[in-house]
């Protein structure tokens, strides 16, 4: 059985309000072992369901304040893009979210699994594949402590099919191209069906065409699995093309919080996208009023 088949229904594009009664019934009557790693999509976009919550978060490195009084709620299933100039603190935000770093002040709540396990995954700017493990084994790293042996193998092959690399499962990472390696890294991050996927400029090092391909892949998989995505990027066009909501961080504070209520799939270069892009760029440069 493919991993994707675990998602019983794929929601229509655009805004999806509440879980229907049948969906709820299906979710509640299905034995848990059938959906051991089921994505949180079954909960839909319930406004009560907050995946990540920052409360007065501050982070200082010595005397330098990198993040200051950040208040942010990310509803489950939302695609959030975080934009800012270099050194504005956006990577720190992501490191806090994934537990790689701790805040100096404030409280951070991140949705965990039912047994309190960590269901947050991060995709780095570099693929960070183990050069000494074959592609399938690299994907299985994503199931560390969750599944092993034959089960892990099957799941990793299924997710590799999803990113279009099933035929490369037995190869070494060194023979893959940059874009393919990053797709393997995406498969590794998603194989355990995370609640939250943090993306730290994962497409930054790719060429323009591969980038667009990867954006489409990311959007497609996100629509299928409905995890909460937090994408840190410095590419404004990428942010408005992919995200439901964009926040701009400037000097450690949230300078702009903007919903992108556009239908998917979005067309690159549409006037609506351009208008939103302009608004964000105005906040980043000049027009301090924001």
């Amino acid at each position: 059985m493919s991993v994707i088949a675990l998602n019983p229904k794929s929601e229509p594009l655009g805004k999806t309000p509440k879980e229907t009664a049948e969906a709820r019934a299906l979710r509640e009557t299905t034995p848990r072992q059938w959906f051991p790693y089921a994505a949180p999509q079954a909960r839909g976009r319930d406004p009560q369901d907050i995946a990540v919550s920052f409360r007065d978060i501050g982070r200082k490195f010595g005397e330098k304040t990198v993040l200051d009084n950040i208040d942010l709620d990310v509803p489950a299933g939302q695609f959030l893009a975080v934009i800012g100039k270099s050194g504005c603190g956006k990577s720190t935000l992501l490191r806090l979210l994934t537990g790689l770093d701790r805040p100096t002040t404030g409280t951070l709540t991140v949705k965990k699994g039912e047994n309190g396990e960590n269901r947050t995954r991060i995709m780095f700017q570099e693929p960070r594949l183990l050069p000494w493990a074959r592609i399938a084994k690299n994907v299985e790293v994503g199931l560390t402590g969750i599944a092993g042996g034959e089960e892990a193998r099957e799941k990793s092959l299924a997710i590799l099919r999803e990113v279009g690399l099933a035929d490369r499962a037995g190869e070494w990472p060194s023979v893959l191209s940059g874009g393919q390696r990053q797709r393997v890294a995406l498969a590794r991050a998603l194989v355990a069906h995370p609640y939250i996927l943090a993306l730290d400029e994962p497409l930054g090092a790719l060429d323009a065409l591969t980038r667009i391909e990867m954006q489409q892949l990311l959007e497609r998989i996100w629509l299928q699995q409905k995890f909460t995505a937090v994408l840190v990027t410095h590419d404004v066009a990428e942010a408005v093309a992919l995200a439901d909501r964009v926040i701009v961080i400037d000097r450690g504070r949230i300078a702009l919080d903007l919903d992108i209520p556009l239908e998917r799939p979005r067309r690159h270069g549409s006037p609506e996208l351009a208008r939103l892009e302009g608004e964000i760029l105005d906040t980043l440069f000049g027009e301090k009023a924001g």
Partner: protein
């Protein structure tokens, strides 16, 4: 078929130069260009080889020397590996021992021979001690270097994915350090034979070095040359074995992928 033929040819090409040298050497000895007191002809060496092989002396001496070399290597190598791993993984251990080890490393271990003879006589322990000491440092230094050069981004990735300390070690750190450990291994194999030759030549009552020294006493140049050649062959054998291991375990490394 063609590819196997080509690979045999490729392997054989390394042996062409030694074969030509051997041939020239034989001609020079036969024509009297090289006096028999200075250097034995290859045919004389081959004769000596056959004689000693039949008497069983050669096999016994090779056995004794190899056993010494290998046991010294195992002892010194495993201590080196343990210290290398410990100091690579724990800064406490490194702070405690690294300075001391680096100081000891700078003493040429062969300088200890007089002291070692005083301690152990010319018994087996003396050779074991010297070989182990000689082998220890290349393994230690390279293991430590290998662990320190493991990509910290990969270690961070392993942590994010919830790897336990042991699986982080076996899946990320050790494989990352392996290429450097192999460099140390091959270097240590060279030192192993070198140390043993010196130790056996100076003080021994059996082994290849002893055989060579005895032959010198009786002016048997052919046997002296034979022992030197056998040392060369054993060294090459050890190195090939290390290369084979390298090729088996480092398949992922672009340098070892067969085109």
């Amino acid at each position: 078929m063609r590819t196997t033929g080509r690979s045999i040819l490729k392997n054989a090409s390394g042996w062409a130069l030694p074969a030509i040298i051997l041939l020239l050497w034989e001609i020079a000895a036969r024509t009297g260009l090289i006096s028999p007191n200075v250097m034995a002809a290859p045919s004389a060496v081959a004769e000596a080889f056959w004689r000693l092989l039949l008497s069983g002396e050669l096999i016994r001496n090779i056995g004794v020397s190899s056993a010494r070399a290998l046991s010294g290597f195992v002892i010194g190598g495993s201590i080196g590996l343990v210290f290398g791993l410990a100091n690579g993984l724990s800064s406490l251990s490194r702070n405690l021992t690294d300075t001391t080890l680096q100081m000891v490393r700078n003493i040429p271990h062969l300088a200890l021979i007089p002291l070692v003879i005083l301690w152990f006589g010319i018994d087996e322990q003396a050779k074991l001690f010297l070989v182990a000491l000689g082998v220890f440092f290349p393994i230690y230094v390279n293991t430590l270097l290998g662990i320190q050069s493991v990509d910290p981004q990969l270690v961070e990735m392993g942590r994010v994915y919830g790897m336990s300390r042991s699986s982080l070690f076996f899946r990320v750190i050790l494989p990352g350090a392996l290429p450097a450990i192999f460099v140390g291994l091959r270097y240590a194999l060279g030192i192993m034979w070198l140390t043993l030759i010196v130790a056996e030549t100076i003080a021994a009552s059996s082994g290849l070095g002893y055989m060579a020294m005895q032959a010198r006493e009786f002016l048997l140049i052919d046997v002296v040359v034979l022992s030197i050649l056998i040392y060369a062959l054993l060294g090459k054998l050890a190195d090939s074995f290390a290369r084979l291991l390298e090729r088996l375990t480092l398949q992922w490394h672009p340098a070892f992928q067969t085109a």
